[in-house]
């Protein structure tokens, strides 16, 4: 056998084994939001898990923003290529309603807290759907330019006060949040908001309040817009997700401060799509990625509160900046004096209707 033949055979053997090796490693496709958020998951969940399980390769797909529609289409086509999806709670509920995601037995499928508290007790009221595994608590709240206001903004109603705080505001182009804030500042008792908003008079009242600042509003559709508008000085104050503002303040050192008053809590978490080809592996991964330590680890990378009660005491310092993370968490007692939790049941019923009213109002 000559040298050429020998090397050819060696190459063939290597290629064959290479392929076998590849086929043995399982790819898990995890859909999330990309950017800093996926990075925090990569650091806190994916990397340590892949280290422990060399046979698993986790592939990040950044299409969470359109995941609900895409999953529906995949399901219709009968070819689900995703294994795990990160969604906001409302979408998790909707996918569960449509039967597109697996029902989870939280106590059986997830790890208990270190002290033995069952997972369902540890997550408590945050398990808003039987298909949904909460991961983080985030809030939609305001940031304002400290150099463009005469005094610090402390109340949500300052957003509606264009006399004391002239300049543009950026608000989400959606009835969610804006209508609740409008009613609070129109004098509705916070515990009565959804009773009022459920009536057509209440909806008109909220829109009438928003009308007072309509000409001063820049409407955003993507979470990154408000930080950009604030940085450019286009707006004085704007709403967005608190993690985005944290980055502006702590990492980019912009002259921006938080206005935590009546921040609106929402949840983000996992759902397992029906039709995944790797269900056993995904469930094994989930048990790891949603345990007490992992959820606490994520908060080293991004300022969102861990969904488990048992994770809260473990929240430490930022992994690269070295600053204490607790004061930047939306759930910190100092920040959470006045809060609203997104009313999922209400919005599931009324979102279509209020969204139509909101859009008609925008077009007026």
């Amino acid at each position: 056998m000559n040298n050429f033949m020998r090397s050819m055979i060696a190459a063939a053997v290597m290629i064959t084994f290479g392929f076998v090796g590849q086929a043995m490693a399982k790819d898990l496709v995890v859909v999330s939001w990309g950017g800093a958020y996926t990075a925090s998951q990569q650091n806190a969940y994916h990397a340590p898990y892949m280290k422990q399980n060399s046979g698993i390769k986790i592939i990040n797909d950044d299409s969470a923003g359109t995941a609900v529609a895409k999953l529906r289409a995949m399901n219709k086509a009968g070819n689900v290529t995703w294994d795990l999806i990160d969604v906001v709670a409302a979408d998790g509920m909707r996918l569960c309603d449509e039967g597109l995601v697996e029902v989870i037995n939280h106590d059986k499928d997830l790890a208990a807290a270190p002290d033995g508290t069952s997972a369902s007790k540890d997550f408590g009221g945050l398990i808003v759907s039987e298909c949904f595994i909460p991961q983080i608590v985030y809030s939609t709240t305001f940031g304002y330019r400290t150099d463009k206001v005469s005094r610090p903004m402390t109340s949500i109603c300052d957003v509606f006060d264009t006399k004391s705080f002239p300049g543009k505001r950026s608000l989400q182009k959606s009835p969610l949040g804006n209508m609740e804030w409008a009613l609070i500042c129109d004098g509705v008792a916070p515990d009565k908001i959804f009773d009022v908003l459920g009536t057509s008079k209440g909806a008109e009242r909220a829109l009438a309040k928003l009308d007072t600042i309509k000409s001063d509003v820049v409407w955003w559709t993507a979470g990154a817009q408000t930080p950009q508008l604030l940085a450019d000085g286009e707006v004085v104050v704007g709403s967005t997700y608190n993690g985005r503002l944290f980055k502006m303040i702590a990492v980019d050192k912009q002259p921006v401060a938080m206005l935590w008053d009546w921040q609106i809590f929402d949840l983000d978490g996992w759902v397992v799509p029906k039709g995944t080809k790797n269900k056993a592996e995904v469930m094994k991964y989930l048990r790891f990625a949603t345990d007490t330590q992992r959820l606490a680890d994520q908060s080293k990378w991004i300022s969102y509160g861990p969904a488990r009660a048992s994770s809260a005491p473990l929240v430490g310092k930022h992994a690269t900046l070295g600053i204490d993370m607790a004061p930047h968490m939306p759930t910190d007692p100092n920040n959470a004096k006045t809060t609203l939790l997104t009313n999922y049941a209400f919005w599931a019923d009324n979102k279509d209707d209020l969204d139509a009213k909101f859009n008609a109002w925008l077009l007026k």
Binding site: T66, D97, G99, K173, E234, A348, A356
Partner: protein, 422 residues
């Protein structure tokens, strides 16, 4: 005549008449031609026509209620919805039974979601019913179901269910044209002006798109003319300047317009530097219709220039020279001789820009604010956010209809064969 023809009828070497042999050969070449086109035809059908047709069916599909509640919808047929009385026990018994079996296969929330598009509150009604029905074991079901949630005692609830129990619905089209069905009476009413959304957006989309066509023509015509008269080498370089932005990502171009046009942006700063405006008079050129028009005119300009350029290049310069030498004023020579010759390019460019413009949604969403968003932004919202695919498809079908209408209109006036795309 016949005889003559028969006499001179030619045959091929094997004795078959030439006519037949020729037809055979032609048939063969036609088959080969078809076979060569077939893969493309197959691909277009599978990847384009079928999915579109399938998506369009969403706009009338209403099978879900009937599929999950077959007995209830059947029993409801005997109930007169305007009688002012609740349906009888049979209907309630069927409903309880079917919610139970739907709950087992997790289908009850699907109906809730579907009916919630028609009337707010059905989502929670069915979710709650799914939790409560397992306790209802013995008749009378009517009282038990109403006790679980008093909304089951509203005639309105049953009117909505009954009027949505047929296989197909026109409801999505009604919503897409700002009409609403009053379930209490079954009458169709148009929404008051203050609640109307879609008609306003359709109208605005057409208006702004027409404006964009006009502006791209206004800018593109002289530019294409210049490209067509300079030397080939210069025009090649200049055409790169036209194509360069064309090759740049749409998002990059859109966001750079934000940096230029915003109130604290480059243009406003420059105008203040020149003293044309003062600090308080900063112009609002973005997050409104102006922003959409400017950004989209820029983005769609190459689609106007390229067809115009390719047409103008083929117009012999001697035409205009001849007209002028025969005594025509240069303007008249341009208007009577040159301009009519460019019409295939104008037609192609305009229809291309127009059709692209009315379907745009990323740019309007980013720079359009409230007054500069298009109907396609609502389609995107319904497809990916509200998940009301029925309504999204209905708006899409209407938009498709408008495009086809314009196409027919164009064919009548200019003639589609006259179009030159490059």
């Amino acid at each position: 005549m016949e005889k003559v023809q028969e006499k001179i009828s030619l045959v091929t070497a094997d004795g078959t008449p030439l006519k037949i042999s020729l037809a055979r050969a032609q048939r063969r070449s036609k088959t080969i031609a078809f076979m060569m086109v077939f893969p493309l035809l197959f691909f277009v059908t599978i990847a384009f026509i079928v999915p579109i047709a399938d998506m369009l069916l969403f706009s009338i599909d209403n099978s879900i209620v009937k599929k999950i509640l077959p007995k209830t919808t059947e029993a409801l047929k005997d109930w007169s919805e305007y009688s002012g009385e609740l349906p009888d026990e049979v209907v309630f018994a069927a409903m309880v039974e079917e919610i139970k079996s739907a709950k087992a296969s997790r289908q009850h929330t699907k109906i809730g979601g579907r009916l919630n598009y028609e009337s707010s509150g059905f989502s929670s009604l069915f979710r709650k019913a799914g939790r409560k029905v397992k306790k209802i074991k013995t008749p009378p079901f009517k009282e038990a179901l109403i006790e679980s949630d008093k909304r089951w005692g509203d005639i309105y609830t049953w009117q909505v269910i009954k009027q949505n129990s047929s296989e197909y619905t026109e409801g999505y089209y009604l919503s897409a044209l700002d009409f609403k069905r009053k379930f209490e009476s079954g009458k169709i009413e148009s929404l008051p002006e203050k609640d109307s959304i879609y008609l306003k957006l359709f109208f605005r989309t057409l208006l702004i798109s027409s404006l964009i066509v006009f502006l791209t023509l206004l800018i593109g015509f002289p530019l294409s003319y210049m490209l067509s008269i300079v030397s080939t080498r210069t025009s090649n370089i200049l055409i790169i300047f036209v194509l360069l932005p064309f090759w740049t990502s749409l998002l990059v171009r859109t966001t750079s317009w934000i940096a230029l046009l915003q109130q604290e942006g480059v243009i406003n700063d420059f105008l203040i530097f020149l003293g044309i405006i003062n600090e308080d008079g900063r112009l609002a050129m973005i997050h409104n219709a102006t922003g959409t028009v400017i950004a989209m005119t820029h983005i769609l300009l190459p689609f106007m220039i390229l067809p115009l350029f390719s047409v103008m290049k083929t117009i012999p310069k001697s035409y205009v020279r001849a007209a002028i030498s025969l005594g025509a004023h240069p303007w008249k020579a341009f208007w009577k001789i040159y301009f009519p010759n460019t019409s295939p390019g104008i037609g192609a460019g305009s229809i291309l820009v127009f059709i692209l413009a009315i379907g745009y949604y990323i740019t309007p969403a980013l720079v359009g604010g409230v007054s500069g968003t298009f109907i396609s932004n609502r389609i995107a919202y319904h497809i990916s956010n509200s998940l009301n695919w029925g309504l999204g498809s209905a708006i899409g079908v209407i938009l498709l209809g408008i495009v086809l209408l314009f196409f027919v209109f164009y064919d009548r006036i200019v003639g589609i064969n006259n179009m030159k795309l490059g």
